[in-house]
């Protein structure tokens, strides 16, 4: 344990360190400023996340820290930037909403920052302990923010439900991790991989399956999706926007690193599991969303489906597959944040509304909002030339390259079914009789919605190749 070991390790985890110290400082600032400190602390928290992102991109070197427990490679950097953007945007969007709904507490941004630290550890995890600790730090903070509106029965129910089911999934993950450790004697992913290459043992496979089940819960892939609609509906909307974005990205990154790096030699074994949950998620997400009337529930089913599509890329288990996952998560998060900017703005004079029918005739009451939401919906459905099309294109191409023709065909069929319910929203906005108009959008919502929609079309057409190149470089970290 030389000083070199410490300083080089600290340089690699510098962004996490900044966030951890910053979170504690923010908590003190909030405590000393008292009741009305939520907007200030939120602003500082967003600035902190942006600052950590800048440090991550400019200063922090690639490498491994703490003897291989933390890995910072182009893949981790790509995903961490996504997570930081997702968290910062959610904090900015939450301020006004929380104030009006009376849960504007300064602990909310602090918990989001702490959860972000967990996500960054998940993305960089190089061994089983970092995997578990990162996941727990992220999840625990998220359980609390789900119940942050403690005077609302639905919010507390969402928090409790998420906590109980999340604890169960953590238990499964931990059991799997203990089996893997027991059957290899190793905790580091690369060491596990080299032992797995010598020969597969039944215990190792069982451990792998348990860990996959725990991680599938976190990305809400079928059959571990049951909590998603209820928690999405019950949690306060800014929290739902958070759930749908950054934690999914982090869990997907962890799943990718765990399978590709830790179990590369056993690819055929985990590939069939991923193929199954991918098909089940795509199909379930498409069909179950059709009957939904609440837009937050609709987004829950939509996110289940989208995780299925992203898993198509992982199932391919090659460079273009991992590249597809990266591009998919980037575009998915942009679309989700933009859509939630609209959902957060669905407010009439007498309060918040969340039914799809409340969007009726939006094209006449607020044409710009309707246009941008239409772009986002068509992109979620995957129509060209919007960014959502390219996201699906990359994962399906990877699946075809890996000769998973059936998976690609089912994916295309599922997205055709999904098109129906996204188009229904578009139809409600453009062709139904106008409902009472919403109160004007807040400035930050306009910025987020406009930026997301314009990124989806037309900006992506120009920056798409460079994002794909960055994702390609990131995917090469594994192969």
């Amino acid at each position: 344990m030389t000083p070199d070991f410490v300083s080089s390790s600290l340089a690699i985890v510098a962004p996490e360190l900044i966030l951890a110290i910053g979170a504690m400082a923010l908590l003190l600032i909030g405590l000393f400023m008292g009741e009305r400190s939520a907007p200030t602390v939120s602003g500082l928290a967003a600035a902190l996340l942006v600052g950590a992102g800048l440090v991550l991109v400019t200063v922090t070197p690639d490498g491994v820290a703490f003897g291989g427990s933390i890995i910072l490679d182009p893949f981790a950097r790509f995903m961490k930037v996504l997570v930081l953007i997702g968290s910062a945007v959610v904090i900015v969007m939450s301020v006004g909403f929380a104030e009006r709904e009376r849960f504007d507490r300064f602990e909310f941004p602090v918990l989001i920052v702490l959860s972000t630290i967990g996500m960054m550890v998940m993305i960089s995890a190089g061994d089983l302990i970092a995997l578990y600790l990162g996941l727990e730090l992220q999840s625990l903070a998220v359980y609390v923010v789900a119940a942050i509106n403690r005077d609302s029965v639905r919010s507390t129910e969402a928090g409790l439900k998420y906590f109980v089911l999340g604890a169960l999934s953590s238990g499964m993950l931990l059991y799997g991790a203990s089996l893997i450790y027991g059957f290899t004697g190793q905790i580091q992913f690369d060491a596990i991989a080299s032992l797995a290459a010598e020969g597969r043992s039944l215990g190792l496979i069982i451990g792998l399956v348990f860990v996959l089940a725990g991680l599938a819960f976190k990305i809400s892939a079928v059959p571990f999706h049951m909590w998603t609609p209820d928690v999405y509906e019950g949690a306060p909307t800014p929290v739902t926007a958070f759930f749908a974005g950054a934690p999914k990205v982090a869990a997907m990154a962890l799943l990718t690193r765990f399978t590709v790096e830790g179990f590369g030699p056993l690819t055929p074994d985990w590939q069939q599991v991923i193929v199954f949950i991918s098909i089940a998620s795509m199909a379930f997400g498409s069909f179950a969303a059709i009957g939904q009337r609440n837009i937050k529930r609709l987004m829950a089913y939509s996110s289940i489906g989208h995780m299925g599509y992203a898993l198509v890329g992982l199932a391919a288990a090659n460079v273009s597959g991992v590249r597809g996952v990266l591009i998919y998560m980037a575009i998915y998060m942009t679309m989700t944040l933009g859509t939630f900017a609209v959902i957060l703005s669905m407010r009439r004079r007498d309060g918040v509304v969340e039914e799809i029918d409340d969007l009726a005739g939006l094209s006449r009451t607020n044409p710009v909002m309707a246009l941008f939401l239409t772009i986002l919906m068509l992109s979620l459905a995957g129509l060209p030339p919007l960014a959502g099309f390219f996201a699906k294109y990359f994962v399906f191409v990877a699946a075809v390259q890996a000769q998973l023709y059936g998976l690609a065909v089912i994916g295309v069929l599922a997205s055709a079914v999904g098109l129906y319910y996204y188009l229904r929203l578009v139809k409600v906005m453009w062709f139904d009789e106008p409902a009472e108009s919403f109160v004007p959008m807040a400035m930050e919502m306009r910025v987020v919605l406009g930026a997301a929609a314009l990124f989806i079309f037309p900006v992506y057409l120009f920056v798409g190749p460079s994002i794909a190149a960055a994702a390609e470089a990131a995917a090469r970290s594994f192969f």
Partner: protein
């Protein structure tokens, strides 16, 4: 020396089994919890005898100091009606028996020294140094604050989140509550706290 060790082993083992039986059979739930504490303490003694002093201390600190005392509070505050509980416990007897058989099988495997994959016994990520070279606490300390400092700090952050969460979700600032201010209490002097009056006898104040 060996004889003394064996003597203590039998004492701890006997007390631990007897106390464990009493946990189940005693009628008063408060007695059950007290016997549970006795079981923990004698198990800690057994750990000490095998040289696992860290486990022994943790068992006392965590299980006796925190968990069992929490049990005791709950049992005393809730005033449980154990008759119904006992009947329901009977229903789970078969499951209990199965778990017992599994544990027995594990014990046999452990005692006979059978390994499922013997070549892995030496391939551990961070093997424990032999007891003769280093005690358990030393071995843990040597890695916990160096190689595994990150995990140690992350675990601290997890606890930090748990603390914030508990406060956020439950603490309500109530109006009109008189709070104890220890600083003010300590800062009182005879000059501010005591008033001396001359009272004439038979008249009262």
């Amino acid at each position: 020396m060996l004889g003394l060790q064996a003597l203590f082993f039998y004492i701890f083992a006997f007390v631990s089994i007897a106390a464990a039986l009493m946990v189940v059979f005693s009628r008063n739930p408060v007695h059950s919890v007290l016997f549970l504490i006795l079981t923990f303490v004698s198990a800690a003694g057994l750990f000490l005898l095998t040289g696992a002093e860290f486990l022994a201390l943790i068992l006392i600190v965590v299980y006796v100091g925190a968990v069992a005392i929490l049990f005791l509070f709950v049992v005393m505050m809730l005033d449980l009606d154990t008759t119904g509980l006992r009947q329901r416990a009977q229903q789970y007897a078969p499951i209990g028996a199965i778990i017992g058989v599994v544990l027995l099988a594990e014990l046999i495997i452990g005692v006979t020294g059978t390994y499922y994959q013997p070549h892995l016994a030496t391939a551990t990520a961070l093997p424990t140094p032999p007891l003769a070279a280093m005690s358990n606490i030393q071995a843990l300390g040597a890695v916990l604050y160096t190689r595994y400092i990150l995990f140690f700090q992350l675990a601290g952050l997890v606890l930090f989140v748990a603390m914030i969460g508990a406060i956020v979700l439950t603490l309500r600032h109530k109006e009109n509550v008189k709070r104890q201010s220890i600083a003010r209490q300590v800062a009182r002097t005879p000059a501010t706290a005591i008033e001396i009056r001359r009272v004439e006898s038979g008249k009262g104040i």
